[in-house]
């Protein structure tokens, strides 16, 4: 549906060239929720703003339904933009307009007949659940309510795609949760494809099907959420996973335990999360596993669990235990100060 092909973006800043994006390619399939995650400065905001050409690529192509947007006239580009809704971190509503006006004005300016405007405003304000706020001004609304109005404003154009530029970053955790549920519902019930960027792992974890991890203007990992986050290849992806679990072991304790055996991180995904693999280890090998920390969470509606385990015993036996766990479908990694390395 949306495809970025070898996108490079260079900003000129005081005669110095700053490369915001470097040869980025990714493809958002119709009907999916695609998340781009990265720390600030990774270039993800530039990327999402390129989907509707708010930002023009220095080189490369942006395709929407097969059309290259960089080749369109401004009139044609405006037509395409109307099929792509966009919401922002700072909501960007008219301060001087009521909720009704905020949704109705853009429709009027794009030539929607006035009778239909009224119907659409009522239809979409109901979807976001703010029917009773039509006469309120943005200043009278909470952050979450403002974002709901912005979502209704975007949906009222009946777009095929919704672009979300850090849409939940200014919201508290509970409000974030409710906005994410709304986005998920929009994707399922209205069939709208969503491309979102975020620096919050829980956003990706809760609603995305596909994910790309960005760093320094490049996509360093991409694929299905389960694949990328069950076997993170880069440290950045690992750090995002770590943020889900919050199970860092204090350094002193770690040092002490290292003397008496290996410390491993065991991840279970989906079906394997139910098997008693760890219990088998004690029976089969001469090691005593003790659990230092553990957690289970959802990765796109599949259980994703992780245990930090101290395997008390000789290196040899511990390694056998690790091999056994790997064979039973558990992902095993060495645990070092919160960073994971391949356990061999």
């Amino acid at each position: 549906m949306i495809e970025f092909k070898n996108i490079t973006k260079v900003f000129k800043d005081n005669k110095r060239d700053v490369k915001a994006l470097n040869d980025v390619s990714l493809k958002v399939e119709e009907g999916s929720i695609y998340g781009v995650i990265g720390y600030s400065g990774a270039g993800k905001s530039t990327l999402v703003r390129m989907a509707n050409l708010l930002e023009k690529p220095t080189t490369g192509q942006v395709l929407f339904e097969g059309k290259d947007l960089t080749k369109l006239s401004s009139g044609k580009l405006n037509e395409v933009r109307r099929q792509m809704g966009m919401i922002f971190q700072s909501f960007n509503l008219l301060k001087t307009g009521t909720v009704y006006e905020n949704i109705a004005l853009p429709l009027k300016l794009t030539g929607v007949p006035s009778k239909e405007i009224k119907q659409r405003v009522h239809k979409y304000i109901e979807i976001v659940g703010l029917q009773d706020k039509l006469k309120a001004y943005p200043a009278q609304l909470s952050g979450g309510q403002k974002q709901r109005v912005a979502i209704a404003r975007a949906l009222a154009h009946e777009p095929k795609v919704l672009l979300c530029d850090e849409a939940t970053s200014a919201l508290d955790p509970d409000t974030t949760e409710s906005i994410l549920k709304l986005l998920s519902k929009i994707n399922k019930e209205l069939g709208i494809t969503i491309l979102l960027i975020t620096h919050e792992m829980n956003v990706v974890q809760k609603i995305c099907h596909e994910v790309a991890v960005m760093e320094m203007g490049e996509v360093i990992e991409q694929g299905s959420v389960i694949d990328v986050f069950s076997k993170p290849q880069t440290q950045t992806a690992q750090r995002f996973i770590q943020s889900l679990f919050n199970d860092a072991i204090p350094g002193d304790l770690l040092k002490k335990l290292k003397g008496t055996g290996k410390i491993a991180s065991l991840s279970f995904i989906g079906e394997s999360a139910g098997d008693p693999a760890l219990a088998m280890v004690t029976k089969k090998f001469d090691v005593f596993p003790s659990i230092l920390g553990g957690n289970i969470t959802d990765l796109k509606e599949r259980p994703f669990g992780r245990l930090i385990v101290h395997l008390d015993g000789s290196d040899e036996e511990a390694q056998k235990a690790i091999d056994f766990l790997k064979d039973s479908g558990v992902i095993v990694e060495n645990y070092e100060k919160g960073n994971l390395t391949d356990a061999n």
Binding site: N52, L54, L77, N78, E79, V80, R81, R82, M84, G85, M86, F88, S90, N92, L93, L94, K95, T96, G97, L105, P106, L109, T110, Y137, P138, A139, A150, R153, A154, H157, L163
Partner: protein, 224 residues
């Protein structure tokens, strides 16, 4: 006391009323023309500035220079300095007609600057949101940029109006009348202090009224 007040009104009431109306007419006409010229210039300044939607160095720098030059000249000098231009535009250099041209030349660049600063206050994000919705630039200018800047534009126009009221006081020099002229001719040249006091009081009330109305309208337009 009472008789002297009624005597004063009998003697001067008509003249003060006419001068008051002259001031209002001069302010009204020049303000209208100045807004018609100044608002688009302010929009142009905002849009052609560095890093803006229609960035254009030549237009921006030229406008900037012209506005700065016109704003450097005090009104009393401008009034005489542009006499040939005034004559060319309206065919006369005296009376209300003759003073409207310098008043506009004085006020329009000022309004352009005030508009520019009001428009620059509008959050860039909201303009971007409308661009993302595929809305034409001219619609964005009117329905987003100017609409959102309205409370600030009204306050700017209030400042401009009060400046204009001050400038009209000098209009008497080209025989255009008005309250300033009245105070100058009778109050200063003929030492009739009571005329001077009364016109000053009327001007104070006028300025207070303009400021109060401006503040009220701006507050009403502002929704946050």
């Amino acid at each position: 006391m009472l008789t002297s007040v009624s005597e004063f009104i009998d003697n001067w009431g008509a003249e003060i009323w006419v001068s008051f109306l002259d001031t209002l007419i001069m302010v009204g006409i020049s303000l209208t023309i100045s807004v018609i010229i100044g608002l688009p210039l302010g929009v142009l300044l905002t849009l052609t500035g560095p890093g803006k939607a229609l960035e254009n160095r030549v237009i921006y720098q030229a406008l900037n220079a012209i506005i700065n030059i016109l704003r450097s000249i005090p009104f009393i000098i401008l009034l005489f300095f542009i006499l040939p231009f005034t004559k060319f535009v309206v065919g006369t250099t005296i009376g209300v007609k003759g003073v409207i041209v310098p008043l506009v030349v004085f006020t329009a660049p000022y309004i352009a600057r005030l508009m520019e600063s009001s428009l620059l206050e509008v959050n860039r994000g909201i303009i971007e949101a409308y661009e993302a919705m595929g809305i034409k630039t001219r619609h964005i200018i009117w329905h987003v940029l100017i609409r959102e800047a309205r409370p600030s534009i009204v306050l700017g126009l209030t400042i401009a109006t009060i400046g204009l009221i001050g400038a009209t006081a000098m209009a008497g020099l080209v025989g255009a009348g008005g309250l300033g002229d009245l105070a100058y001719r009778y109050g200063h040249l003929r030492y009739q202090a009571d005329i001077m006091y009364v016109t000053v009081i009327i001007l104070i009330i006028l300025v207070q009224a303009v400021q109060t109305i401006g503040n009220r309208v701006s507050a009403k337009l502002k929704k946050d």
